[in-house]
């Protein structure tokens, strides 16, 4: 017979073992959860999504009710991450997950696939209409802006929608929903697109183009055309902007908007940028040697677009200076053209490189001004030589007083800061007159010339600004 001490020891041992078992179960549950859930948002991860899809498809076949897949991508999330930092980026992702979860039905499952991509599995769909309702509800849930670290952030998703068939597999559903999402993005985002077979073709073509781009870079298929920036009314050419062109051997001319986006998405933008820089410098240098004309003081400069990825490379400054020197050009003959979002990237390497370029005499042109995020502090921080007013303000300037007011404000601000202004996208005579009346002296657009080889462009574009244009601008100023 056991003694009391032995019984007590046995009870304590059994109690410890019970507690150890409970703890083991708790640890196993945490491990399982971590393996199947996204740590940041708490949503199902890709592994669990695959599992959910398999189960849902099996159920849909038994019940003869389709399932719907929504594939979501947050528009311009990369800009948010780059300009506001990863901490804010993570908060945006968590908020997006929260809104998606609130918008879907209880029978639906949400997952974070990775990066800024999410998926929703909608069960028991009678038809596409039910899925579209969920998609619209998700879009509506993103209507309100999100306040994060005292910044107001707009999060907008592009959504691809697909309904399953009897033969659907998880991979096919995700692929088709992704293709539809891409279509939604192409339409400007903040919308949903329902998949159709043509989209699959588009997605396949996009992948093929990505591969072609790689081959194109290897075999030097890319060239440059140039568009002049004209001084109005003198007509002198201030600069030529180099623009990348791709004439595919089989597909013909590929839209720059398309192949540049593909280059960015497939991380080939650095290599493309470097090739275009070399081509532009070579073409420009050759043109300068061939032309006869004004003295060196009036020679135009060459402006070349640089992506944030290029500017983030530690070697970009010496390589660029070497390339300029090889072509027998002086650094002050070249302008680095960047977008607003590049200046707002919190990247010491980018900032240091821009400063070095400026110290070496290269100019800094800021493209698409007015379209990026807030904070003009970067105008103080970086030595910006030129602001290029985005074409969206120029396009509406004849009919929209707000656009006119914005352009005028930019011109005045720039003048006060001793920064020059170029208006982009100038296509009509009235636009030239209005811009001239508002004090904008440099302009670029189809009105003067379409992009072409340098030898095909004029050296001079005489334009008069009527006195009426100036009077009208002053009159509008007085009324305000």
């Amino acid at each position: 017979m056991k003694s009391i001490d032995e019984v007590e020891r046995l009870v304590r041992k059994l109690d410890r073992e019970r507690k150890a078992r409970l703890e083991a179960e708790r640890i196993a549950e945490i491990a399982t959860r971590s393996a199947l859930h996204d740590n940041l948002t708490g949503l199902a991860n890709r592994a669990m999504l695959d599992d959910i899809l398999k189960t849902s498809i099996a159920r849909s076949r038994r019940n003869h009710r389709a399932i719907g897949i929504l594939f979501l991508d947050l528009d311009r999330f990369k800009n948010i991450n780059d300009s506001l930092g990863h901490k804010v980026g993570d908060l945006v992702l968590k908020e997006a997950a929260r809104r998606i979860t609130r918008a879907i039905r209880s029978v639906d499952s949400a997952a974070r696939i990775g990066g800024d991509e999410f998926a929703v599995v909608c069960e028991g769909a009678g038809g596409i209409r039910e899925i579209v309702v969920v998609a619209q509800r998700i879009l509506d849930s993103f209507a309100d802006t999100f306040i994060c670290e005292e910044k107001e952030i707009s999060i907008e998703p592009s959504i691809g929608v697909v309904l399953s068939t009897e033969e659907s597999t998880p991979a096919e559903l995700l692929r088709d929903a992704d293709a539809a999402m891409y279509q939604a993005k192409n339409k400007g985002g903040r919308c949903f697109e329902i998949f159709d077979a043509a989209m699959r073709e588009v997605a396949t073509q996009r992948l093929a183009l990505e591969s072609s781009l790689r081959a194109g870079l290897r075999t030097h298929q890319f060239t440059a055309e140039f568009q002049p920036v004209v001084c109005v009314p003198s007509g002198n050419v201030r600069s030529f902007e180099a623009l990348a062109r791709w004439n595919h051997p089989e597909l013909g001319a590929i839209s720059p908007e398309l192949f540049i986006r593909i280059a960015e998405d497939s991380h080939q933008i650095e290599e493309l940028g470097e090739q275009i820089l070399g081509i532009a410098l070579r073409d420009f240098s050759g043109w300068l040697h061939r032309r006869e004309g004004p003295s060196d003081g009036d020679l135009p400069i060459l402006s070349v677009n640089f992506s944030p990825a290029q500017l983030g490379r530690p070697t970009i400054v010496p390589r660029t200076l070497e390339a300029i020197d090889e072509m027998g050009l002086a650094p002050d003959r070249v302008a680095i053209e960047i977008t607003e979002s590049t200046l707002m990237v919190e990247d010491d390497v980018v900032a240091a490189n821009l400063k070095q370029f400026s110290d070496k005499g290269l100019r800094l042109d800021l493209d698409d001004f007015g379209t990026g995020y807030s904070s003009l502090a970067y105008l103080k921080r970086f030595h910006v030589d030129v602001l290029k007013i985005d074409r969206m303000f120029v396009r509406d300037i004849e009919t929209d007083l707000e656009s006119r007011a914005i352009v005028e404000a930019i011109v005045k601000m720039s003048s006060a800061l001793n920064i020059d202004v170029i208006a982009e996208g100038v296509e009509t005579e009235p636009q030239v007159q209005i811009l001239g009346g508002l004090g904008c002296r440099w302009m670029q657009g189809y009105y003067f010339d379409r992009p072409a080889k340098l030898d095909a462009l004029k050296h001079h574009y005489a334009t008069e600004i009527s006195a009426d244009a100036v009077v009208c601008a002053k009159s509008a100023e007085l009324k305000n």
């Binding site: 001490d5 020891r9 304590r12 703890e23 083991a24 640890i27």
Partner: protein, 186 residues
């Protein structure tokens, strides 16, 4: 430290000296005694239990650690035969500690902080024969070189080899790291 280590100690103490001693050690150390193999627990709890056992046996702590390592090997060989079966000698087994054994330990027990060893294989001329000698440098923030010695001794017993084990340097004596020399003597 992972719970599996505490489980091993409990098994050995209860096996050699009964569960009453284990209860007593838990009470003296002021610990709960609830250790699940995958859980993580403070190093201090193990040290407190070892110190209590050393006090009970009236032995130095390092001697108890050596005993612990040596007596754990048969249990580990039974539980994880895949670590032992590919080898026929102590030296070959010990040399897989970093890349095989501890790599698997980290997979089995995520978060496990395992020591890292540097190895140098040499030969000593003993009685006109070249005898393999392994120099092991033990790197760990825990300074439990005596436990490592115990494991090496237990491994030699498992492989049926007699070894001559000597600690050439010890961190507790001011050296940069603990250095062990292991020579097969029979």
């Amino acid at each position: 430290m992972k719970g599996i280590i505490f489980n091993l100690l409990e098994m050995l103490v209860e096996d050699e000296e009964g569960d009453a001693l284990w209860e007593s050690l838990l009470d003296e150390a002021g610990v709960s005694g609830v250790y699940t193999a995958l859980g993580s627990y403070a190093d201090e709890e193990l040290i407190a239990l070892i110190c209590g056992l050393a006090a009970h046996r009236d032995l130095p702590i390092d001697t108890v650690l050596h005993w612990f390592g040596r007596r754990s090997i048969p249990i580990l060989a039974d539980r994880y035969p895949e670590f032992f079966e590919p080898h026929v000698s102590t030296i070959s087994f010990l040399m897989t500690l970093n890349d095989v054994i501890h790599a698997e330990v980290r997979k089995l027990y995520p978060g496990a902080e395992v020591p890292v060893f540097d190895f140098a294989l040499g030969k000593d001329a003993i009685d006109d024969r070249d005898t393999p000698t392994l120099t092991m440098v033990y790197h760990s923030h825990r300074s439990m070189c005596a436990l490592a010695e115990g494991f090496a001794t237990g491994a030699a017993e498992h492989f049926g080899e007699a070894i001559h084990l000597e600690q050439l340097e010890c961190k507790k004596m001011g050296a940069e790291a603990c250095v062990l020399s292991i020579r097969i003597s029979g």
